[in-house]
């Protein structure tokens, strides 16, 4: 299942000119508010008629302005989880789910049971929609969209209204859904942390145009993508294995290839594959191996490429074992340390700077 989008649309003073391919798996559509993310997925759903262009799923053309093809919204079999959930107020939670089941593709009864269980909806089924919490609304909206057995699922910042623990919980649901139901997803977000946790592919939108797209790990580790992502949010995502727990001081030991690192404790058994994002601003570089450092993590790295920013900072791509990480250093340090591609040096990563929200279980796609 893959999605191909190539559309142009003018809306007031804003011009959308987006072109990208979304392969199977979860694809994140990343950008600031006003970047055109919602317009793109509305066009994919058929709710927006683009001025020009083509949208196809698995080779089936849904929109093509040249041949005047525009498949009606209700015939596209594309699930859409709206930012504001849009539950039907005159129906109970159970009836909302039945609505999707009734008009969408035929979903098997045991699959319904599985979804209700997976999203923990059993206690909500008989209730009205008015006094559901934000998290409950998101879960109901997600289940309702999945009841239609969509061939593609569009998610428009479905977690925007949620607090951090709920967010982590639903992200886990989504990852599991992606694995268990194999429904490909186009996930709109403005959070790099969310992207790093769940997306296999990343599409970065800025002012209506695609700045960057490709496998998430590749884009996030690319210093040239830093301006598009925002300097504060930049940081590579890498694959690691849980090695051991040190409950006495709340740390876990992980290995990246054969490079050991310490980070705040992750409650998973040793041997678990995890992906973690290391914020570029939390990585410091040193020419000599520093001794007696509170950061705890000092690892040998090789400089791969350097991209000076427009401000005082520069993004430096480094290889760490088999993975790549990004460091954001002052431009002045490039000269002071004589940094250049190929140089071997040391990266200092504060063990406590890796937050729990930047870690997710599973292999990098």
């Amino acid at each position: 299942m893959s999605l191909s989008v190539d559309i142009r649309h003018r809306l007031g003073g804003f011009t959308l000119d987006a072109r990208f391919e979304a392969p199977p798996g979860i694809t994140a559509l990343f950008g600031r508010s006003g970047a055109g993310k919602t317009s793109v997925i509305r066009a994919v759903a058929g709710l927006l008629h683009p001025d020009g262009g083509r949208i196809a799923v698995d080779g089936e053309v849904l929109t093509d302005t040249e041949t005047s093809v525009h498949v009606a919204v209700h015939r596209r079999r594309i699930g859409y989880v709206f930012q504001d959930a849009r539950l039907f107020p005159h129906l109970s939670v159970g009836q909302n789910l039945a609505f999707g089941r009734l008009f969408g593709g035929r979903i098997a009864r045991d699959e319904v049971e599985r979804l209700v269980h997976l999203l923990d909806l059993r206690p909500l089924l008989g209730r009205g929609t008015a006094d559901l919490s934000g998290g409950e609304r998101s879960r109901v909206a997600l289940a309702r969209a999945l009841m239609t057995r969509p061939r593609l699922l569009l998610l428009d910042e479905p977690l925007a209204a949620l607090d951090a623990p709920r967010k982590a919980e639903i992200l886990r649901y989504l990852l599991r859904l992606g694995e268990e139901t194999s429904v490909p997803m186009l996930y709109v977000t403005h959070s790099v942390a969310e992207v790093a946790q769940i997306a296999r592919t990343l599409v970065v939108l800025k002012e209506g145009a695609v700045q960057r797209s490709g496998p998430t790990a590749e884009v996030l580790a690319d210093p040239a993508a830093v301006p598009a992502l925002g300097v504060r949010e930049a940081g590579a995502v890498l694959q690691a294995t849980l090695h051991a727990h040190h409950p006495a001081d709340g740390l876990s030991a992980i290995t990246v290839g054969d490079v050991p690192l310490l980070m705040p404790e992750v409650e998973e058994p040793p041997g678990t594959l995890v992906r973690l994002r290391i914020n570029a601003a939390d990585v410091t570089l040193a020419r000599e191996r520093p001794a007696a450092l509170s950061a705890l993590n000092v690892v040998p790295v090789t400089v791969l490429s350097i991209r000076p920013g427009e401000g005082p900072g520069a993004a430096v791509a480094l290889s760490l074992g088999p993975e790549r990480i990004l460091a954001r250093v002052p431009r002045r340090a490039l000269v002071a340390l004589d940094l250049a591609p190929g140089l071997e040096c040391f990266a200092v990563i504060n063990a406590t700077a890796i937050s729990r929200a930047d870690v997710s279980v599973g292999a990098l796609a």
Partner: protein
């Protein structure tokens, strides 16, 4: 029950109820369609349609009745055609009273339904579409249930307005006792004779009761609309 009204007065009340019932029922589908068109439609002539719908509210009722007579009278273009094709005569018949009441009550009905349509979040219809419901199913399963209280409120208002219609009705169908004499024209007629005040008073009481009941039901329904759209 029948004790406090004479048989003749009961006949008048029943005729008025019958006229109002049919006027409301027959104008309902058109009222819903026009309300949807005015609330959602973007087309040339939107303002003209809106003005046309509201015309009976601002025109003197006698003028509306006269225009009905010109168009739907037996020698009028539409009236003549109806009689020739379907043997339907409206002028000076109770069916004509239905038409006059329906047209006079129409703006009130459309306003109430239009407000309900405008209160429906169009996003819900989009959501229904992404769930696989086509336009007709969307209307039946989402829009219609959400505007139902508005439709009922509009119907109640229209019914009450039809019960009280006087000017257009008496102009178009006169007030023939037993045929086209409704409650308002009977009250008017009773007040024209020296001993008619007692009879008029009883019919006035009926009018007041129907009007109060209608306002009460309409209030209750509009409260339900608000709750329903809020999902409680």
């Amino acid at each position: 029950m029948t004790g406090w009204l004479t048989a003749q007065e009961w006949g008048i009340v029943l005729l008025s109820l019958r006229v109002s019932f049919w006027a409301t029922l027959l104008s309902l589908p058109v009222g819903i369609a026009v309300a949807l068109l005015l609330a959602r439609g973007r087309f040339r002539g939107h303002g003209l349609l809106n003005a046309l719908v509201h015309l009976p509210l601002v025109l003197p009722p006698v003028v509306t009745g006269y225009l009905l007579l010109v168009v739907f009278g037996r020698r009028g273009p539409v009236g003549g055609w109806l009689e020739a094709q379907f043997d339907i005569v409206l002028a000076f018949r109770w069916t004509g009273a239905v038409l006059a009441a329906a047209i006079m009550a129409f703006p009130l009905m459309v306003r109430a339904i239009r407000l309900a349509v405008e209160a429906v979040d169009a996003g819900l219809e989009e959501a229904a579409a992404t769930l696989g419901a086509g336009p007709v199913l969307r209307f039946l399963t989402v829009t219609l249930p959400l505007i139902l209280p508005g439709i009922l409120a509009g119907s109640v208002l229209a019914f009450a307005k039809a019960m009280g219609e006087f000017g257009a009705t008496i102009t178009f169908v006169s007030a023939i006792p037993g045929q086209t004499q409704t409650v308002p024209s009977a009250i008017y007629a009773a007040l024209q004779v020296p001993d008619g005040e007692a009879g008029a008073l009883r019919l006035v009481l009926v009018s007041v009761l129907v009007a109060l009941g209608a306002v009460g039901v309409s209030e209750w329904l509009s409260r339900r609309t608000r709750k329903r759209v809020a999902g409680r």
